[in-house]
């Protein structure tokens, strides 16, 4: 459907709304479609946009018809801005079926479905089948072992499903630095495509070991909790965005925080979650324009830590 593709008009509207760069040069006579920033999945060289969409809490709205319709609009805005990767889990209540509503209605042609297995190994296959049914897709792109639950059983299952072309990628997830030694061991010994870990401007523990290991082993990295479940946004939004944020095409705090994450060369994408169309447009603005270099990244850290 026309509204699902990234039209030049969509992107320009996004930018003109102030959700993206103030310094992008789009004069009225020769408007250029800004380039969507992507990064390659090391194991396949497939490109993914730098910003995805999480569904933790925000899409768990039960059978509330109003909130479900709002979630579809969030997905519509996400796809319109060039988004592809949506991440969910069987643990997230009704989130999977809410995503399925959006997929069914919007039929996004370039959807990248990322979900998880979150049960003991004997039930993994049936849980993944149920997840696929809820998403209303023929096959899931990425299935990750949620919080390493029974990973010694679940990971071989995922690798078997990948070999049978029932899924395209396998991964593992954790959050907030839990079980990092075990994550490292799995990254060293298993043929993973993805690892999902917590990374944001204040939680940078993975920079010392996990990210170098991901680079060495050719594993894509999904950064979860980019805004510390909203706490980070609430904290920084009490302060003014620094004027120099314009130098990296950030018009607001969410873009500032997301650009810090996705400017790390090993991070493949960040997955902010939201139930607001306005916020998803702001977030997707971080997929456009200039990214900070290393000195600017250090400046960003120093600024946020000083607030």
């Amino acid at each position: 459907m026309a509204h699902d593709s990234v039209s030049r008009r969509d992107v320009l509207r996004l930018l003109l709304a102030g959700a993206a760069s103030a310094s992008l040069k789009a004069d009225s006579a020769h408007a250029q479609t800004p380039r969507l920033l992507t990064r390659r999945i090391p194991s396949s060289r497939e490109e993914l946009p730098l910003v995805g969409l999480g569904t933790w809490i925000t899409f768990n709205v039960g059978d509330d018809p109003v909130a479900r319709a709002e979630s579809v609009e969030v997905m519509r805005a996400f796809f319109a801005a060039g988004g592809r990767l949506i991440d969910s889990s069987p643990m997230y209540g009704s989130s999977q079926s809410v995503v399925g509503d959006g997929v069914s209605r919007l039929q996004p042609p370039r959807l990248f479905s990322a979900d998880k297995v979150w049960t003991d190994g004997s039930k993994g296959r049936s849980q993944i089948a149920e997840t696929r049914r809820r998403w209303r897709v023929r096959n899931l792109d990425l299935v990750q072992v949620h919080n390493l639950v029974d990973w010694k059983e679940n990971l071989p299952l995922l690798l078997e499903m990948k070999a049978a072309k029932q899924i395209r990628y396998v991964g593992i997830t954790t959050s907030e630095g839990r079980r990092d030694r075990e994550i490292e061991q799995i990254m060293r010994t298993q043929p993973l495509d993805f690892v999902q870990v917590t990374y944001n401007i204040l939680d940078r523990e993975i920079e010392s070991r996990i990210l170098p290991l991901a680079r060495e082993r050719g594993i894509a990295v999904i950064a979860n909790r980019p805004f510390q479940e909203g706490a980070l946004i609430r904290h920084v939004e009490r302060h003014r965005l620094p004027a120099w944020a314009r130098e990296i095409d950030c018009a607001n705090w969410p873009q500032f925080l997301l650009k810090f994450i996705v400017s790390h060369p090993v991070v493949t994408c960040a997955i902010p979650a939201t139930s607001s169309v306005l916020h998803v447009r702001e977030n997707m603005g971080a997929s456009y324009g200039r990214l900070p270099d290393e000195p600017t990244r250090r400046r960003m850290i120093a600024y946020v830590e000083s607030l």
């Binding site: 809490i57 039960g62 509330d64 997230y92 009704s94 919080n147 839990r178």
Partner: protein, 223 residues
């Protein structure tokens, strides 16, 4: 759950405050006019609790059991389970409590209630009044819409609180097994409200702890 001690209460919360409160609104809309029946059962509960004949006392226990069964099935299983996968376990707890009330209150007749003017009884009556009348106002003051407030007999927190109050009014030693699930639910309810950042947390905590204390005290006194 590995490394469970590293999780905060908010890490375990699956939904936003808006979703939680909207769930009550949708629930009330879906079960109307069950509220009228709930109100009628509440009036019958109060009238019959003042009578001391065995039939009336057993009917009071039956009404309480019906409330627990209703909340377990209609609220937890049919509504709360849409946003919280733990709700099916909560439903099981509520059904077990209903069965315990049937066994101890109706079949064995071990829940005879008598209202005296001693301080413990007055406190139990206060908790009963708070659970039935004050609780909806507390929800409104804490930020819920009127259509989203919790009501005795059809939502869990006030039902659990009222049960503790009734157990405190029993002139025979109330079976300890009847106290466990209401107390467990008060803890779960308070934890949920705390994670949501709601001031109602304190209402559940204060009434729940008071109810537990007076129920245990009266249980010992009746032994």
């Amino acid at each position: 759950m590995p490394e469970w001690w590293t999780y905060r209460l908010s890490d375990l919360l699956l939904f936003s405050p808006r979703t939680y409160y909207r769930m009550f609104e949708l629930y009330h809309g879906a079960i109307w006019p069950a509220h009228v029946i709930a109100l009628a059962s509440g009036v019958a509960f109060v009238v019959l609790a003042r009578r001391e004949d065995s039939w009336a006392q057993r009917t009071v226990a039956g009404i309480l059991a019906a409330w627990w069964l209703w909340v377990g099935v209609a609220f937890h299983l049919n509504r709360y389970a849409t946003i919280n996968w733990s709700a099916k376990y909560f439903a099981a707890l509520f059904v077990i409590q209903a069965l315990l009330l049937v066994w101890h209150g109706i079949i064995r007749g071990r829940l005879p209630v008598r209202v005296s003017r001693n301080p413990a009884n007055m406190m139990a009556l206060g908790i009963l009044l708070a659970a039935s009348v004050v609780y909806p106002f507390a929800g409104r003051l804490a930020g819920r819409e009127w259509t989203q407030v919790e009501l005795l007999a059809i939502t869990p927190d006030p039902t659990a609180l009222a049960t503790l109050a009734l157990l405190a009014l029993s002139i025979r030693r109330a079976p300890r097994s009847l106290i466990v699930i209401p107390v467990v639910w008060c803890a779960i309810g308070a934890a949920t409200l705390w994670a949501l950042g709601s001031a109602e947390t304190w209402v559940v905590l204060i009434l729940g702890i008071s109810g537990l204390a007076v129920a245990i005290r009266e249980s010992r006194a009746a032994a």
